[in-house]
């Protein structure tokens, strides 16, 4: 299983802060996880500026995801 977390406007669009999913496939990448999230929630997140993290480090959508990872999706950050 992988734990997927959502923050800020993405959390609000999905109406939930986190989901537990099974790894979409062997050799899955972050984009595959996003697709699985969209399929499960029925909310289309594509077409907007989304950032991703795996195990609390920024990654590209093509980054690999393994079983047990924590994946997160969020909009561009606006701290400081």
């Amino acid at each position: 299983m992988i734990e997927v977390k959502f923050f800020a406007s993405i959390r609000e669009q999905l109406g939930c802060a986190q989901l537990c999913l099974s790894l979409p496939r062997d050799g899955a990448c972050v984009a595959d996880v996003l697709q699985a999230v969209e399929a499960q929630t029925g909310v289309h997140l594509g077409g907007q500026h989304l950032l991703a993290a795996v195990n609390m480090a920024h990654v590209a959508m093509t980054a690999p995801v393994s079983d047990g990872d924590e994946v997160a999706f969020f909009p561009p950050v606006t701290g400081g």
């Binding site: 977390k5 923050f7 800020a8 406007s9 500026h49 993290a53 609390m56 480090a57 920024h58 997160a72 969020f74 909009p75 561009p76 950050v77 606006t78 701290g79 400081g80």
Partner: protein, 167 residues
């Protein structure tokens, strides 16, 4: 390096005074930046600001950029404090302090840290205005660390304008 992510307000000078002395022996000075909540945006008065963060990743990112600053600049140590939760106008949000033997490295590293923090630390601001709440959206000018003031037209969803004192 020291990183603090907290809801509580902080006293900038007290934080500097309390910083562990071992790491900053030989310092010729320090440079500190303190960011506060603006009381205006383009469209409305701001009653309050809500800051959401990603617990765990936030600390990791701030520690990562602190290590990067030490690797790239001739500095002795650094302190980053960032608040989350609901903040009123003019309240302190963030402090970056850098100790160095010489001023140039202290200024450069402080500037580097606040600029990189803005594009990498997982915080999200939401403005509370008289007409409701809205997420502050990404600002490419801020992302580039533009020195001069810059303005936005109608794009992005929440258009906003910065004065030359933007930070």
């Amino acid at each position: 390096m020291l990183v603090k992510v907290q809801a509580a307000d902080f006293d900038s000078q007290a934080e500097i005074n309390a910083f562990p002395q071992e790491g900053i022996r030989g310092a010729g000075g320090l440079v500190s930046f303190v960011g506060t909540v603006r009381d205006y945006s383009d469209a409305a008065d701001i009653l309050a600001m809500e800051i959401e963060h990603y617990p765990g990743m936030t600390e990791r990112e701030l520690e990562r950029i602190s290590a990067e600053a030490r690797a790239h600049y001739d500095i002795l140590d650094s302190l980053i404090i960032h608040r989350f939760g609901r903040l009123g106008p003019n309240e302190r949000i963030v402090q970056v302090t850098v100790w160095a033997r010489h001023r140039a490295a202290a200024f450069d590293a402080c500037r580097f840290l606040i600029d990189v923090l803005k594009t990498s630390a997982p915080f999200w601001k939401r403005e509370i205005t008289p007409t409701g709440m809205r997420w502050v959206t990404d600002c490419p000018g801020c992302r580039a660390g533009t020195r001069e003031g810059h303005s936005h037209g109608v794009a992005p969803a929440v258009g906003h304008q910065h004065s030359s004192m933007h930070k």
